[in-house]
């Protein structure tokens, strides 16, 4: 079995790169916020929209986090022991990506500190954003508790099923809530729909699987021979199958949503023309989703580490494009602005917004690499090494 020492190389590199990323991006974002305010995010009324790339980033990382919790839940709540070897790493990465999401949101809000008292004291139970911080807090605490407990000697999912199920339920609540924020908006038909939360759930699971694959390879220096046997067995067994199944479901959802939207007539649904007319959409669908599905289905490539890694990265990029199209698409047809604004708002994320994305990414990887250095993320539940 591989030893902890052999992982140090890539982890240190990842940590150093992420730390530099945090420093640079945070400095740029801070200077922009100080000298230009949130106008640097394009979100003031002089700008084109209300929610831009920072919210895309926030939702992307939040859903990645819940997706990783779902993957861990396969072991912790549903008792699929095959997933034991990656469960702890997934739980830690779920914490890391959730931290990235919270950082992005904090910098996006006009008054983030005020939110700490103004939201809980409001009891505005009608707003999904009232529930969200409670769900995320409960979810974060459960992640920490599970992370801490699962390496106790003799730990087994069966004896701790309550905890695993609680984590799973909290993750589902966070993902559904994130979808409901958009799905409830009947006045914006591009977003509206009772099934949008379920859509978020499926995309979340897919991003969890892709992230889990990526970091499992990263953790063992991109070298499958360094992996413990059980981890390698998972990556050449159930994992590509589950990856392909999740991809198939998401492709069906993306495709059917695009076709339904293009066909339908309602003010605001012109956003589907905007979406499908962009090369990004085709990059997302064909290169980012269909190609990985083919790779994960073909017997010759599905178990190849390089192919799995490529598929994971492509899917993670595709899901980001998808999140971007979704969040921006609901706002791209302007509301009552008269003839002086174009039919589709012209929005290009600013440098500050891209830096916020870099910041979130760097935070996620810095926290992840910190965990890799500090804790034994490869520990299989119940077996403290």
């Amino acid at each position: 079995m591989a030893t902890q020492a052999s992982f140090k190389g890539p982890v240190n590199t990842v940590f150093a790169a992420a730390a530099i990323g945090v420093g640079v991006s945070l400095a740029i974002v801070a200077v922009a916020l100080f000298t230009r305010g949130h106008a640097a995010f394009n979100t003031t009324s002089q700008g084109p929209l209300s929610w831009g790339l920072p919210i895309v980033t926030y939702d992307y990382f939040l859903l990645a986090s819940t997706g990783l919790a779902f993957v861990a839940s396969l072991a912790l709540a549903f008792g699929v022991r095959d997933f034991y070897p990656i469960a702890r790493r997934c739980v830690w990465l779920a914490l890391a990506t959730a931290a990235a999401a919270v950082v992005a949101l904090t910098l996006e809000l006009g008054h983030p500190l005020r939110a700490f008292w103004a939201i809980p004291l409001s009891f505005q139970y009608l707003s999904p954003l009232f529930w969200k911080p409670f769900f995320i807090a409960a979810y974060g605490v459960l992640l920490l508790v599970v992370f801490n407990r699962m390496t106790r000697p003799g730990w087994d999912y069966a004896a701790n099923r309550g905890l695993g199920v609680a984590l799973f339920v909290a993750a589902v609540a966070v993902a559904l809530n994130a979808g409901a924020v958009f799905g409830m908006m009947a006045m914006r038909p591009f977003w509206y729909g009772p099934l949008i939360p379920v859509y978020f759930l499926a995309e979340s699971f897919l991003s969890g699987v892709a992230f889990a694959m990526l970091v499992t390879y990263l953790a063992y220096g991109l070298d499958p021979k360094a992996m413990p046997d059980k981890a390698r067995a998972l990556l050449t067994g159930a994992m590509p199958g589950i990856f392909a199944a999740a991809l198939a479901v998401v492709i069906a959802m993306v495709g059917s949503r695009a076709v339904t939207g293009l066909w339908s007539n309602a003010e605001g649904l012109q956003a589907f023309d905007w979406m499908v007319g962009s090369p990004l959409f085709h990059l997302e669908l064909w290169v980012g989703l269909v190609l990985p599905l083919v790779l994960m289905l073909r017997p010759g490539s599905r178990n190849q580490p390089s192919m799995q890694l490529a598929a994971a990265v492509l899917v993670l990029v595709a899901l980001f494009i998808g999140r971007y199209e979704f969040v921006i698409g609901g706002q791209v047809v302007p509301l009552f602005k008269g003839s002086w604004v174009p039919g589709f708002v012209r929005y290009t994320p600013s440098l500050t917004e891209w830096m916020l994305l870099l910041l979130a990414l760097s935070v996620a990887f810095a926290v992840y690499a910190f965990g890799e250095k500090r804790f034994d993320l490869s520990a299989t539940p119940g077996e403290k090494r």
């Binding site: 929610w51 006045m187 509301l335």
Partner: protein, 251 residues
């Protein structure tokens, strides 16, 4: 309790923007963030192109989606039927701007340190975004009701001139600038409209002039299918035959 509402007669409106200017002066608004605006549209092609316009304040909806989504209750509905924003509570999440079907909410957070901005010429003393020379007296500032100069990082919108109408004598049916003792309580846009296309009154009072106008001239509401039920009604034509605002009997 009154349920304040507005009636705008589109047959009288000339699109002169006096309402917008009055509102901008009254509430210190800038172009691009006008609480009250007249939107211009064009349709058709030369030689039969048509220019149209549409005056648009906040609708102070009966079922305001902006209130339902606000996680802090910074946006709230008053007993008098107004929808207001408490700037002490708003966290600048902008969900209300997403949820308002009418696009009447405004978020500001410019810091004019580098880029040219008129607000940098008249910097705000402390809490407000800026301090224009024509601004109203400081004692009119009322953050709980979203009145005054907008601070940074929060959302603002039309208050129906809360600072005026809240001082009106209780029980009046209409606030009409032609009634001398009431004219100080009339919203700025209504008071300033040259062809008197705007009316303001109590929608709960069957005898109010606004209610009569809505009934006699068949007032309609913008985008009634959203279910927000605006308290701003538009008059146009007034013929008996008309386009229904919703697909079934009102509930």
């Amino acid at each position: 309790m009154a349920k304040w509402g507005m009636v705008i007669d589109l047959d009288k409106c000339t699109g002169c923007q006096a309402c917008t200017t009055a509102c901008a002066m009254e509430n210190n608004r800038l172009p691009g963030e006008n609480w009250q605006d007249v939107l211009f549209y064009h349709e058709g092609k030369y030689p039969s192109a048509k220019l149209m316009w549409f005056p648009r304040p906040c609708m102070h909806c009966e079922h305001p989606s902006c209130v339902d989504v606000c996680p802090t209750r910074a946006t709230y509905k008053t007993e008098d039927g107004l929808v207001l924003i408490d700037w002490n509570k708003c966290i600048g999440c902008k969900y209300c701007m997403i949820a308002c079907p009418y696009g009447v909410r405004f978020y500001v957070d410019e810091r004019p340190l580098v880029e040219p901005d008129v607000r940098g010429v008249f910097p705000g003393a402390g809490r407000g975004m800026w301090s224009p020379p024509y601004r109203a007296p400081n004692d009119r500032e009322d953050w709980v009701h979203g009145v005054g100069i907008q601070p940074s990082g929060v959302v603002s919108k039309c208050t129906f001139c809360y600072h005026k109408i809240s001082k009106a004598p209780k029980g009046v049916a209409d606030l009409d600038e032609d009634i001398p003792e009431l004219k100080e309580y009339v919203p700025a846009c209504v008071r300033m409209c040259p062809p008197k296309a705007r009316y303001f009154g109590d929608l709960d009072n069957p005898a109010s002039h606004v209610n009569k106008l809505i009934a006699d001239k068949r007032g309609v509401r913008l985008l009634d299918q959203t279910g927000n039920k605006p308290q701003v009604y538009y008059l146009s034509g007034g013929a008996g035959a008309s386009v229904p605002g919703s697909r079934a009997a009102k509930t």
